[in-house]
Amino acid sequence: MKSTSRAAEISRAVNTAQTSARSVMIETLARIEANNGRVNAFTDILGERAMARADRVDADVKAGKPLPLAGVPFGVKNLYDIEGLPTRAGSRINRDAEPARTDAALIARLEAAGAICVGALNMDEFASGFTGENAHDGPVRNPHEIGHMAGGSSAGSAAAVAAGMVPLALGSDTNGSIRVPASFCGVFGLKPTYGRLSRRGMFPFASSLDHPGLVGRSVEDLALSYDALQGYEADDPAMVKRPMEAVSGRLERGSAGLRIAIAEGYFGGDSEVRAMMDAVAEGLNVARRITIADAQAARAAASLITMAEGVALHLERLRTQADAFDPEVRDRLLAGALLPAGWIERAQKFRRAFHGQMLKLLETVDVILVPAAPMRAPRLGQKTASFGGVEMPIRPNLGIFTQPFSFVGLPVVAAPIAPPGDALPLGVQAIAAPWREDFALRAARQLEKAGLAQAPVARGFAED
């Protein structure tokens, strides 16, 4: 049993008394202590609390209580409430907020399944950004190449998992904030359907786009955790009351019987990205190619709505303490306050139309595959890059492939595709119809079985 084991392996070992949650936790905390300085993923470490919970898990296992995630350590993006800590959401401003009185709903759900929260993770300020460069806590570094971006905004979540400090982490995704860092750091990410998981106890960004989700190092781990996270909570108005739809038992069907297509056109990408998609097509034996009309407009509309909803949340703070914001985030929020209402209303009308269009398309195909990010992780501090041969600013453009789908709430799995040689990872998105997380996970599992998708601990962090 290694501290870099996957969640399912840890849970099996704890449940069968091959190891104890206490011993897993001691190793995990030592590993975080030894490695966090290199990647800057954790902002808070809950050693005492985690050890106390580990003892409780060991007692429960001894008493014969079934725990699907027994002793599995996990971290949470620091916009999730953790009892006793101010929920900083990557900001300086929130550091003075009152400490949270209870844990966020999803932390409580994972812990009820036997998992153990070990700390809070660094992120882009107020979840507004794709780079993981935080002006207050310092940038999260990519464990595969520490001079490069981890991607954001769930930067610490992806980096902590890629560095093998924890097998699982909770994140959130408004425009791609799980899928972009998952792609940059080479880990699996799941952004379930809008309304599937509870947002109670999460600091918001753009409410009509905010999705909770998670990252891990295997599809099995995503599925196990996702099953533990499901369940209705009354305190999130976006949540839909649905029965539990467990996916863990369905993974091994892989892509059998699934109609899969690769979307091209807008989602074409540069030559490296195209080569990855060709490998995916070959590995899954997918011949069907489709185009998604109006994807560019969907991305544009998502951006405008995000600007408007984001500033509605922060306007008062911008009036009174603008200097306390990360300047990059501040200026985008300020611009959001100045937009004509007609643009936003048009974006919302288009959203209805695009939603209908996607549902219709998803009657003819079960899983759509597109790249997760337009490039490998750029260097920290890099401001511009080539997008299809045109030099463009990086910050606003890393979400071009992710935004059209979160815009209409579709479930998506991001799967890391092993790069050739020493190159940094790339990722592919598997997108399904609303509530069909199982389809997206099965396609990702097939990629994993074919040896195409894999999430090893980053080389400099692997154990012998």
């Binding site: 976006a238 544009a300 405008l304 911008l318 300047p327 611009a335 306050a337 919302q348 009308k349 209805r352």
Partner: protein
């Protein structure tokens, strides 16, 4: 609806006072850059097919 080449300084001055924000000289270049991006997005959206009578979707069920 989407202006082709708006005067961003004029836009900032007019709207900021309406919403009670003061845009400082330090903030102005960043705000301008973001408004420029937003204007491009609005222009893309302007060309997308939207029937005026369509219900908007600020709260929706996936």
């Amino acid at each position: 609806m989407a202006p082709k080449l708006p005067d961003f300084d004029q836009w900032i001055d007019a709207m900021a006072s309406v919403v009670g924000l003061e845009i400082t000289p330090e903030q102005r270049p960043g705000v301008k850059a973001n408004l420029k991006t937003a204007a491009k997005m609005a222009a893309v959206l302007e060309k997308a097919p939207v029937r005026p009578e369509t219900d908007p979707a600020p709260v929706y069920r996936a």
